[in-house]
């Protein structure tokens, strides 16, 4: 009797069962690769931000994207803002402390909007004791501010602030005198000309320089790629088992047929 043709791996792989398993494997791989890409770009963002934080100050227009949004890579970037404070734009963020070597001094943050070219830039001028707020005036005329670009405080938490603690984002809303307020704020480090009564500059809210290498994001990047590899390892292993099983059945089937007839 003639031997039946040996069942090929291809004929097993194109059965409905294996086509659906392959589709699932492709989807799982796409998911793993997407997650690896996401963790990889997180790693890259953190490294870029650290590099940006250590770089020399640039004009704020160069750090922002063209529509005034704050790109991730510009978080923590030192910038220079040249412009004038917009009259009556000063707002107070209450319940903010000034960390000192010995204690945290209670007080408020002072935020104001600086008109710089086509943009309105919220600037965190600094900290003052609450009872000095009323006496604090906005500098008039052209100023040059050097500071650090920061995302609005709701950027990471997306939390709604409690009544006593408005966030910078809320203050920025209040500053939205014109629709061209930019996507982040500048934490003032120094200002020319300087005034004796100026608030005390505060450290940036998001520290991006001097951060450790993002091992966690980097490790997750590699692990997601390993998982993608595992998917195809499993796929190949089971396909081979099914091919062997199919060939075995083929070898047995003709004999059974003979017995029946």
């Amino acid at each position: 009797m003639e031997n039946p043709p040996v069942r090929s791996a291809w004929s097993v792989a194109t059965t409905p069962r294996w086509i659906s398993l392959t589709v699932v494997a492709v989807l799982a791989t796409a998911l793993c690769v997407f997650l690896a890409y996401w963790q990889g770009s997180r790693t890259q963002d953190i490294l870029n931000a650290e590099r940006a934080a250590l770089s020399a100050p640039v004009l704020i227009d160069q750090a922002l994207s063209e529509d005034g949004a704050l790109p991730n890579a510009a978080i923590g970037r030192p910038v220079v803002v040249v412009g004038t404070y917009e009259p009556a734009s000063q707002r107070v963020v209450s319940n903010r402390v000034l960390p000192t070597a010995t204690e945290d001094l209670p007080g408020v943050w002072v935020v104001a909007s600086v008109r710089s070219g086509s943009w309105a830039v919220p600037v965190l001028r600094g900290w003052i004791p609450e009872d000095e707020v009323d006496a604090l005036a906005l500098p008039e005329g052209l100023v040059e501010i050097t500071g650090v670009l920061q995302p609005y405080e709701a950027f990471y938490t997306e939390s709604t602030p409690s009544a006593g603690e408005p966030l910078i984002a809320i203050t920025a809303e209040a500053l939205r005198i014109s629709p061209d307020v930019v996507g982040g704020f500048v934490v003032l480090a120094s200002q020319v000309p300087k005034d004796v009564g100026d608030p005390i500059p505060v450290p940036p809210t998001v520290q991006t320089s001097d951060v450790p290498f993002p091992f966690q994001n980097f490790a997750y990047t590699i692990q997601w790629l390993v998982f993608a590899g595992v998917v195809w390892f499993m796929w190949g292993r089971w396909l081979r088992l099914d091919v062997l099983r199919a060939r075995e059945e083929e070898r047995e089937t003709p004999q059974r047929d003979n017995l029946k007839t």
Partner: protein, 109 residues
């Protein structure tokens, strides 16, 4: 078979114990007591999860090995693999697989 079983059992326990500790101790530390990133609690949290990530990769390798040797189906194998990511599930996977290996060895004698 015994070597593969031992490797899987070790990884199931190591991964499972770390995952249990991170779930029972780590998560409350972070979300209830709000341990910050600096200091012992924050480092413990970060390092613990990173260690779990790599241990889980080793768990995957040993779990795949034992599941292939036992000729488990796709879905049974997936269940064993996923057990490494669910707190306490890897202990059950380890117990069931060890029992099955013993049963098969007893049947073969």
């Amino acid at each position: 078979m015994n070597g593969a079983l031992l490797r899987f059992r070790v990884m199931a326990w190591v991964t499972g114990v770390l995952l249990a500790v991170m779930t029972v101790v780590g998560l409350p530390l972070k979300y209830v007591f709000e341990a910050t990133d600096s200091g012992f609690a924050g480092s413990f949290y970060a390092i613990g999860w990173q260690a779990h990530g790599w241990l889980y990769v080793l768990y995957l390798v040993t779990a795949l090995d034992i599941c292939f040797r036992l000729r488990y189906s796709v879905f049974r194998t997936l269940a064993v693999l996923i057990a490494g990511t669910i707190p306490f599930a890897s202990f059950f996977a380890e117990h069931l697989i060890a029992k099955e290996v013993r049963a098969r060895q007893a049947a073969a004698v």
